[in-house]
Symmetry: C2
Subunit: 213 residues, 2 copies
Amino acid sequence: MSDYSKTPRSTLKRAHKRGHYDRQTVHAILDEALVCHVAVATERGVMNIPSSHWRVGDTLYIHGASKGASILALENGAEACIAVSMLDGAVFARSVYAHSVNFRSVMIYARGHSVEGDEKLTAVRAFIEKYAQDRWDQLRPPTANELKATKIIAFEIHEASAKIRSAPPGDEDLEFDVWAGVVPLKLSRQKEEPCLKAGSHHAVPKGLLPNLG
Amino acid sequence: MSDYSKTPRSTLKRAHKRGHYDRQTVHAILDEALVCHVAVATERGVMNIPSSHWRVGDTLYIHGASKGASILALENGAEACIAVSMLDGAVFARSVYAHSVNFRSVMIYARGHSVEGDEKLTAVRAFIEKYAQDRWDQLRPPTANELKATKIIAFEIHEASAKIRSAPPGDEDLEFDVWAGVVPLKLSRQKEEPCLKAGSHHAVPKGLLPNLG
């Protein structure tokens, strides 16, 4: 798969070895992460909205209440800067400044558009399938009012970069006799909590959160 | 502790029961989370930078390379919208649209300033202590050049809100006979990876990541 466009603002200037521009790396981070942050200039100033996201091909989707200020701005074509980041560890070094974190992140600059009609339902289905495979056909489908109350914004990904740090401490201050190393961190599933209102005779389905690392 | 200012843009308009404005709730989220996203308008457009953050009283700190576009904009007084969010679970409902996530998030609108002199070293120490208690005195201190290469931006928190969802699925479509419930998620420590260059005779210190839930 080819690379995304490297523009001056999407190209890492510091720690440039941490930069990646290939679709495979960018997609893997977007697909594993469950939350993004969408920054956009609105009439209320710059807003930064945490949002679930999902990807189909080179399109990134988010959703939000139709009347929200950030959704309105995005729908009207304001540029977004979308950040997706996963924290993979805390890095403890021997010098104060060599302390760091291991992480994988993606930054996308893009203008979005509102998805309508059949395309909207197809996008909603892809969203559900990021969270649960083989579940769509069992669910009560969206109503017209539900679909109307929520906008889906699609961003075609062109200008994107990934940044990854995955390493032990990088310091050289070995004469400081202190423990150094990495405490890995991972977003982990805990024991499921079945809803007791109904359906608790079902086993927990396989295929929930299939991309969680 | 008193509440933060409720302004039109910091007050939740939808799902307003999820909104919290008291310092205790806001601070607890800021202190447990290790990463924030800082959105700011720069000469390159709106940028959205993932960053480690730390808090002392009503001041939130971030750090970044002195020459970075976002740090320069912040230093020059551009308003930031800082989002901190932790994903606590995926909520599987019986209807498509009742699927949700459990989360805790904070949004802060603030203008920052660069921290200098003795105050800068004090802030760096608080940063280290968020990651590791009782470690500062064992470390090689920052050099003048290290301090110069990195800016610390302080934001006085006035306009802030927290948003929390922590609940089972909220749907009423009980006739759809499918498993429903929550898959809790948690950023969890994994087995430590000591740096083998030196110091591996030390036990892993207690007090690493003391606020991790």
